[in-house]
Symmetry: C2
DNA sequence: CACAATTTAGTTGTGTGCAATACGTTTCCA
DNA sequence: TGGAAACGTATTGCACACAACTAAATTGTG
């Protein structure tokens, strides 16, 4: 629902009532807030997310990374090539199933994790809410996200 | 805060704890959910937001639109040119202050509003939450957004 | 008034997102 | 087992976002 006051019938088309705009605009603010810190590591925000996924478990396929981040190969393939060129990850075809490409970490990629550990706390402060509030908000967003994805899938 | 359980020290770097990822990923889902409906109007999601701003008040400067959507001229200028080419808006230099460009609606741009009125309700259903929940979530996100923007400004 | 600082758009370059499509590999099953 | 269907990745094309920069107009100040 686009959180309207429910008064005027046209209030549904007012920007200030749009939940979707709040999400869109906050997402832009997130990447802007991360940018200076990540630039020090030579990473963009989506690249950082890929690294986070790999720091949790090395040796994943493109598909596995894509499922965790909800991104397709059209986005990931060029992004992964940039991370490879930066010397942070490795890319090689699986010899058993040659459809798959296995992504791994280089020593430099592993080492970057240490330099990234300070970032979540700093960003957390910028959010300006308590840990509990953040946890609740995160849960609500993930529910909304899953609902949206379900409605998209249902339409196809 | 990246909503962690607060147990292990490295849990701050786990994707499942990231509030920022929830925001990022939900924003992507929002644009995907809007896409088929907006495509019928020949609009992208950011273009739709610009039209919403103009439906609320015609004759705005690029700067005014940018402030409402938190977008700069690097994003808006090409987007507005596409809307102009699509015949939905007009662009002309202000004769009083020639730094400014005034954006207005064409008849077709105004007419498109009617065709867009059904969208918020349909998307609202896809969110799968009540009007009250949406309103609360929107308010929390806008607070987080403003905090993020304030922290970015403070750093400069 | 002169002119430096500010304001407003536009331009350029990089990196996403995603639809549509292509292509080689694997799986399924008649 | 042969071939169609499904799968995993890559490619192409378009449209954002945003940093960095440019250019023109206006404002502020001595």
């Amino acid at each position: 629902m686009n959180a309207t006051s429910g008064k005027a019938p046209d209030s549904l088309l007012k920007l200030e009532n749009f939940l979707c705009f709040a999400i869109y605009s906050t997402a832009n603010a997130v990447t802007r807030a991360y940018q200076p810190r990540l630039a020090a590591l030579g990473l963009t925000y989506p690249q950082y997310l890929v690294m986070v996924v790999l720091w949790e478990r090395e040796k994943q396929t493109v598909k596995s990374i894509g499922e965790k981040l909800s991104l397709d190969s059209g986005t990931l393939t060029p992004l992964l090539k940039r991370l490879e060129n930066a010397g942070l990850i490795t890319r090689r075809r699986d010899t058993v199933d040659e459809r798959q490409v296995l992504i791994g970490l280089t020593d430099e990629g592993r080492a970057t994790r240490k330099r990234a550990e300070a970032i979540p706390l700093a960003i957390g402060q910028a959010f300006g809410c308590t840990l509990g509030e953040a946890k609740d908000l995160r849960a609500e967003l993930m529910t909304v996200r899953d609902n949206l994805i379900a409605s998209i899938d249902k339409a196809n």
